[in-house]
């Protein structure tokens, strides 16, 4: 009994109890650990803000961009790359393949929302404009344009709508693994600039692998 009290006294004299000693050890260890993780992570971190984009050369138009965005209205929209468009009179992405006649009646339009507007430039050329608020990113027109047209339509993440989630929930589901991240200064993949341009930009992006 006396011995115990004696030990306690001597501990108090040296200014360190067993509890304080292990507490200090834990504090030091955790501080070092956190600092270590912080330094290593900071060296791997990118200074730029990175934004989600779809690689149009990988996209398979599965239609999940419409359903898997965290927002009620998907941040992905159909984009029309005008320099690639054939400006045809009869656009394969505008008219349904099943329509028996080639009139532009609403029943013959491919887009279920009627989000593609057809306007006469001068005969026989027409331009096709995407009504973005109507588009649901279902990818029907994109698929038809890729298969039977010039491939000027593609699905793309629109940054004025995208919340830039930590983990894009469409990217998590994308079967083609077509989602990439690009620095915010030049954050759009433009299809007509080609695959080489995208590859170069992905290589230059921090941590880029392609």
């Amino acid at each position: 009994m006396n011995d115990g009290r004696g030990a306690d006294e001597s501990n108090r004299k040296s200014g360190l109890t067993r509890r304080q000693f292990f507490g200090g050890l834990g504090l030091g260890g955790l501080t070092l650990g956190l600092a270590g993780v912080g330094v290593v992570a900071a060296r791997r971190a990118a200074a730029e803000r990175l934004l989600w984009q779809i690689d149009p050369f990988k996209c398979v138009q599965c239609g999940q961009c419409r359903t898997h965005c965290v927002m009620a209205e998907s941040a992905v929209k159909c984009v029309h790359d005008f320099p690639m468009c054939g400006i045809c009179d009869r656009c394969v992405a505008y008219l349904s393949a099943n329509s028996s006649d080639l009139s532009n009646g609403a029943e013959n339009e491919l887009c279920p929302l009627g989000a593609i507007r057809r306007e006469l430039i001068e005969p026989p050329y027409f331009e096709y404009l995407i009504e973005e608020p109507l588009c649901t990113a279902c990818g029907l027109c994109v698929m038809r344009c890729a298969k039977a047209g010039k491939g000027s339509l593609y699905l793309q993440v629109r940054h004025d709508r995208c919340l830039n989630c930590n983990q894009c929930s469409i990217a998590a589901k994308c079967p083609a693994e077509a989602f990439v991240r690009l620095p915010a200064e030049e954050a759009y993949v433009v299809r007509h600039l080609g695959l080489e341009d995208l590859d170069r930009r992905l290589r230059d992006a921090p941590g880029g692998t392609r």
Binding site: G4, R5, D8, N11, T17, G23, G26, L27, L30, T31, L34, V37, G38, A41, A42, R44, A45, A46, A47, E48, R49, L50, V70, M71, A72, H80, D81, F82, P83, M84, G86, I87, D89, R90, I121, E122, P124, Y125, E127, K150, R158, H159, D160, L163, N164, C165, N166, Q167, S169, A172, A184, A187, R191, H192, L193, G194, L195, A205, G207, T209
Partner: protein, 300 residues
């Protein structure tokens, strides 16, 4: 005019078809026979329009840019500083309540919850294991800051800054004390959740903490129905059990708890003035105040 589109598919004679097939085959052979650069040009030359028509420009609406991440991290630093001051110097519970309502509005409903310290665990895990992963700098900052503060001042992040904690605090009506036999085993779930999330993230799997965040759907007013319903369910439970997500699920809370367990500066009752009425023990909604124990060395 140099550029004309066929209006309908024309019929070709079979000889012509044969010829075109042959040419096509030759083209294919040259394409796949080694010359990689031989790709069809993507841009079609515009025809000579008679009107002065110009092709529309591609619109590329911009994102919020770097200031958004800067604003987030800056606000986090300020909120943490305010929480430390309110807890350790001001000792004001009302102040903390005001701060958490601000955090709920700002980090939750205005910044829509992303990126948060809870989810950043996965970014850090993936960033450390996979060098090709692009680690956002904001993820590093929001991971390190609350833990660093917890090492010195305890987990003030939970009390005043975390929007997920705040949304549960505002619905709390009357806290029922969870019995210890239930509290202890349920408290082990976060450890399992954290391990699973880190293992999945480091092996290139999904970010489950973000994917199954029960409250983010409320902040964004959209999301998967079952997740929003489970968030509402947690809030219903939270009316009687204080902060059920924080205590029995939150994976980041494990790390914060670890850091705050070794901190020197704690909130404590004043030992000299304590009359052992144990009112504080009963009042603590989290059941975090345990009965006083004698120090081992003096138990003689």
């Amino acid at each position: 005019m140099t550029f004309r589109q066929p209006i309908a598919i024309r019929r070709r004679s079979s000889a012509k078809a044969m010829l075109s097939a042959l040419v096509g085959l030759l083209l294919l052979l040259t394409l796949f026979g080694g010359s990689a650069g031989a790709q069809a040009p993507l841009v079609l030359p515009a025809p000579e329009f008679e009107t002065d028509y110009q092709r529309p420009e591609l619109s590329h609406p911009l994102a919020d840019g770097l200031w958004r991440d800067g604003l987030y991290v800056g606000a986090l630093v300020l909120a943490l500083a305010a929480a430390v001051w309110l807890v350790h110097w001001r000792r004001s519970r009302r102040g903390m309540a005001v701060l958490s309502i601000f955090s709920l509005a700002f980090f939750g409903f205005w910044l829509l919850g992303c990126i948060c310290p809870i989810g950043s665990v996965q970014n850090i895990g993936l960033g450390l294991s996979d060098s090709s992963y692009i680690l956002p700098w904001a993820a590093v900052a929001v991971f390190v800051l609350p833990l660093g503060v917890a090492l010195v001042y305890g987990r003030v992040f939970c009390g005043g800054v975390c929007p997920l904690g705040a949304v549960q605090d505002v619905v709390l009506l009357r806290a029922v004390r969870v019995p210890e036999w239930l509290d202890k085993p349920l408290g082990l779930i976060p450890f399992a959740y954290l391990s699973l999330a880190v293992v999945l993230a480091t092996t290139g799997g999904p970010f489950i903490i973000c994917q199954y965040d029960p409250f983010i759907g409320l902040f964004r007013m959209s999301g998967e129905m079952w997740l929003i319903m489970s968030g509402l369910g947690l809030l219903l439970l939270g009316m009687f059990v204080a902060r059920p997500y924080c205590r029995f699920l939150c994976p980041y809370g494990v790390l914060l708890g670890l850091c705050s367990s070794v901190t020197r500066r704690r909130v404590s009752t004043s030992p000299g003035q304590c009359v052992n009425c144990r009112l504080c023990e009963k009042a603590c909604p989290m059941g975090a105040i345990r009965p006083a124990t004698e120090e081992r060395g003096r138990q003689t």
